[in-house]
Amino acid sequence: MPTQRPRRIAAAGLAALAITALLASCAAQSGSADAAATGEPVTGGTLTYLEHQPHTTLYPPQAGFYPNGGIVNNITARLTWQDPESLEIEPWVATEWTVNADATEYTFELRDDVTFSDGTPLDAAAVAKNFDTYGLGNTELGLTISEAINNYASSEVVDADTVTFRFSAPAPGFLQATSTINSGLLSPETLDRTLEEFGAGSSTEIVGSGPFVVAEEEIGTSLRLEAREDYDWAPPSFEHQGRAYLDAIDIVVTPEDSVRIGSLLAGQADAIRYVQAFDEAQVSGAGFEIVAAPTRGVNNSLGLRFTNPLLSDIRVRQALVHGVDAQEIVDTIFTENYPVATSELASTAKGYTDESDALAFDPEHSEELLDEAGWTAGADGIREKDGQRLSLTVYEAKPQPLSKQTLELVSQQLAKIGVELEVKSADAGSYATDILDPLATPLYHSMVGRADNDVIKSQYHTKNRNTLLSNDAELDRLLEAVASEPDPAKRDEASAAVQDYLTEQAYVIPLFEEPQVYGAAQYVHGFTTEAVARPQFYDTWLDKQ
C-alpha cells in the first residue's frame, strides 16, 4: 500500500484551491455584444429567451403570474391597448367604444378582419363569450373570474361587429381591464376547455388572437412561440404593422440564477427575465442592456394583519412602520431600479399620492410609541408586556425578489426597536395554509401590479386578495368607492383617500417600487414591455450579423 496518505488531504485542498482560482476568474468576464447602430428592423430569426420559472396555465385571468403572463401577452390580442408610458387606453381589436355616464354600460365596435389562429373570425359573439367567461366565471369548467373585472352582469351581441357589456354597479375600471392580459381574447372553442386543459402540457392547443402562437411545448422546460404570418391587427398607434419581426421565440426555463446570467453573458441566450439586483452591475458592465420596467401597482410591502392581537394596537403598528428603514434596504440589497416606496402605491401607478412624510423612518418615535403602549424591554432586548414577548412572524415570499434577504434586514432593523421578527421559510402547502391565518402570519410580504386605480382594491378588499385578512368595513367602503367612481378625477381622489387611510391606520409597511428586470444582448432591438412589465415580442428584432 502506498504510504503518503496525509498528503492526500493536502492534495485535495490544493485541487480545491485550483477550482477557487478558476471561479475567481469568472468574476472578470468580458462582454460580447457588438454595439450595432439602430437601423431598419430585420424580419426573421429566433430569439432565445430564458424564463425563471415554468408557466402553469394559459387561462388569461390567471396570467398574473409572470411566466404565464409573458406567454399570454404574446399569443392574445385585446379589445384595447394601454400605452405603457402615458397609460392612455387606445384602440386595438376595438376601433371605438362608448361608456354611459355612470359606467354601467360599455359598447365596443370591433375590427372585422381579426381571426383566431385556427382561422375562425374574431366577432362580437366571440368577444361576448370571452367576457362572459372572465366576468362571471364558469364553475362547471373550473374557470375563475378575472380580478380585473368588477360588477359584471351580462353581454349583448348587437351585430357582428358590435358588443355591449352591462354591469350591476358602476365599473369605471372595465375599460382598462379590457387592455390587460387577463382579458386576452381566445377562440370560443378554447373557452369550452376546463381549467386543467389550459394547464402546462396543452399549451399548443390554446387558440388565441395575438401575433404569436404556441408551436411546441416540453412540459416544465421549454416552449416555442412562432409568428403568425397573417397577423395584421396591431394597435393602430404602433408604427409597426403586419406580422411580428421575429420568426420564433424559444422560451427556456432556467431556474438557476447563475446559469441564466452566465448564458446571457456567454452569448447562449439573447434575453432573460429576472436579473437579480446583485447581478445588474455584472450584466451592464459586460455591455449588455438592462431593461427595468415598473409594475405600476401596489408596492412591494409588508401588510400588518391587525386582526392578530399583537398588532391590534395602532401604536404597535405605527412603531413598526417607523422602525423599518426602506432606504437602507434598497441601498443594501437593491439598485436604483428599485425606488424607495413613498406610498402604498408606486409613484408610477394610477391614483398615487405621496405619503412619504407620514411613513418616514424614525426609530426614536417607534420606541416612544412602544413605551407608551406598555411594551418594555425584556432581558434579551425584546420588549414584553404582561409576560408576552413582542415577537412576530413573517414568511419568505418566493415570488418577491430577494424576499429572504429583505426580511432578514427588516428583522435586524426591528430588533433595534425591541421587536423580534422571525423569518420563516415553508413548503407550498404549509405556506398556503398559514398565510390565511393572522396568528401564524402577522406580517405578509406581497405586491401586485396593474396600471389602473382598481389595483389597490385587488390587494386589500376582503372579497379580492384580502392580503390584510381585514375585518375593517371602512376600508372596504373606501376601496369600493375607487372601483365604482365614474369620474376619473374623483377616482384619483378616492385612491388617495385609501392611501391616507392605510397610512393613518398603519396597516402597511411599504418598502420599494418593484420593477421587472430583464437583460438583453445589444443586438436585440425593440424589446419592450406592456404597461405592467410583461415582455412584448411583437416589435423585437435581431441585428445579429
Binding site: 500500500m1 502506498p2 503518503q4 498528503r7 492526500r8 488531504i9 492534495a11 485535495a12 490544493l14 485541487a15 477550482i19 478558476l22 471561479l23 476568474s25 469568472c26 468576464q29 432565445t48 430564458l50 402553469t56 390567471q62 403570474f65 364553475t139 375563475t144 373570474i145 380580478e147 376546463t194 381549467l195 386543467e196 386543459e197 389550459f198 394547464g199 402546462a200 402540457g201 416540453e218 412540459i219 416544465g220 422546460t221 424559444d250 427556456v252 432556467t254 431556474p255 438557476e256 447563475s258 446559469v259 452566465g262 448564458s263 453573458l265 456567454a266 447562449q268 441566450a269 407550498a428 402547502g429 404549509s430 398556503a432 395554509t433 401586485v448 372579497k463 379580492n464 386578495r465 384580502n466
Partner: protein, 312 residues
C-alpha cells in the same frame, strides 16, 4: 425456478407496502395540492368554490375511499391526472422518463469508465506526486455537493472556456455536462475500490512471475484487475440506482432539464399525489428488478458464492 417465484412474491409485497406507505405519508402533510393551486389570494376563490373544486377532484371523500379508488385505478393502468398540471400522469411520466433514462444510463457508464481510468492512472502514472494527486481525487470528489459541482462545471466549461453550450445545445451537447455532474461523484467510491484491488494484485506473488516472463505492467493489470473490478461494480449497482435518481434531481434542476427527478421534486412541493404515487411505483419497480438482476448475476461472476444463501 421456485427461487424466482419466491423473489417475485417478495418484490410484489415490497411494491404494495411502498405504495401504501407513500399514500399514508402524503395524506399526513399539511395542506394539499388543491389548496396549493387554488387557495392563492390572487385567484380570489371563495371557500364554497374551493369545496366544489375539491369535490370535482374526488378529494372530498374519506382517505380510505380515496386510497381504494387510487389502487383500483393503478391496477387497471389508470394513473389519474396531475392536480398541478391537469395532464394525465402517464403522459407526464412518459415525456420525462426518456430524458432521465438517457442521463442516468450514460451517467452510470461514464462513472464506471472514469473510475477505471482513475484507478489505472493512479497506479501507472509516472511520478509519485502525480499518482498521489490522482489518488486523492476520489476523496475530494465525494466531499463536494453535487449542485455545486454542476454550477462549477457550467461556469468553467460553458461560460469561461465556452466549450459546450448549456442553452440551445443539440441533444448530445446537452448531455455532456449533466452526465459528468452525475457521474463524477458516483465514480469516486468506485475508483477507490478499484485502486485498492489493483494494489492487492500488484503485491500478489504471481505478478512477479508474470513480469519476470516479460509481460508489461499494463497488461498484467488489465487482465487480472478487469475480472476483480467487475464484482464491486455489480455489487454497488443496486445502491447506485438510488444515487442516480437522487443525483438526477439536482442535475436536472441545475441544468434546467426535463426529467423524473425534477418532476418528483415539483410534485412533492405541490403535493401532487397522483404523480407521486406513480413515481413511487416506478422507482420501486426499478429497485426490485435491479436487485433481482444483481442477485442472479452475482453467483455467475463469483463462483465462490454459487448457490450460497444470498438472500436479502
Amino acid at each position: 425456478m421456485a427461487y424466482l417465484a419466491h423473489r417475485t412474491a417478495q418484490a410484489l409485497i415490497v411494491l404494495a407496502i411502498a405504495f401504501t406507505a407513500t399514500f399514508v405519508l402524503l395524506q399526513a402533510l399539511p395542506g394539499d395540492a388543491i389548496l396549493i393551486k387554488f387557495e392563492s389570494p390572487e385567484l380570489g376563490l371563495s371557500p364554497e368554490q374551493i369545496a366544489d373544486i375539491r369535490a370535482s377532484y374526488g378529494a372530498d371523500v374519506p382517505p380510505l375511499q380515496q386510497f381504494l379508488h387510487t389502487v383500483a385505478g393503478f391496477v387497471q393502468g389508470d394513473f389519474g391526472y396531475s392536480v398541478q398540471y391537469g395532464t394525465p400522469v402517464h403522459e407526464l411520466i412518459g415525456s420525462a422518463l426518456p430524458d432521465t433514462l438517457a442521463l442516468a444510463g450514460l451517467g452510470f457508464v461514464t462513472a464506471v469508465l472514469l473510475a477505471v481510468a482513475l484507478a489505472f492512472l493512479s497506479t501507472l502514472a509516472p511520478f509519485g506526486w502525480l499518482r498521489q494527486a490522482l489518488r486523492s481525487l476520489p476523496g475530494l470528489l465525494v466531499s463536494v455537493p453535487v449542485f455545486w459541482l454542476g454550477i462549477v462545471l457550467i461556469q468553467v466549461f460553458s461560460f469561461q472556456l465556452r466549450l459546450v453550450p448549456v442553452i440551445g445545445a443539440d441533444p448530445v451537447q446537452a448531455l455532456i455536462l449533466p452526465v459528468l455532474t452525475l457521474a463524477i461523484p458516483i465514480s469516486a467510491p468506485l475508483a477507490q475500490i478499484l485502486a485498492r484491488s489493483i494494489d492487492e494484485v500488484q503485491l500478489a506473488p504471481f505478478v512477479a512471475v508474470v513480469r519476470a516472463k516479460g509481460a508489461g505492467p499494463a497488461r498484467v493489470l488489465w487482465r487480472d484487475v478487469a475480472r476483480n473490478a467487475l464484482l464491486p461494480a455489480v455489487t454497488i449497482a443496486g445502491v447506485l440506482v438510488g444515487e442516480l435518481i437522487g443525483g438526477a434531481v439536482v442535475t436536472e434542476t441545475v441544468f434546467g432539464r426535463a426529467g423524473i427527478g425534477r418532476l418528483t421534486e415539483q410534485a412533492v412541493a405541490n403535493q401532487d399525489v397522483p404523480v407521486l404515487q406513480a413515481i413511487v411505483i416506478l422507482a420501486a419497480l426499478v429497485f426490485v428488478v435491479v436487485n433481482l438482476a444483481v442477485d442472479l448475476v452475482y453467483p455467475v461472476l463469483d463462483p465462490r458464492l454459487k448457490r450460497k444463501a444470498v438472500a436479502a
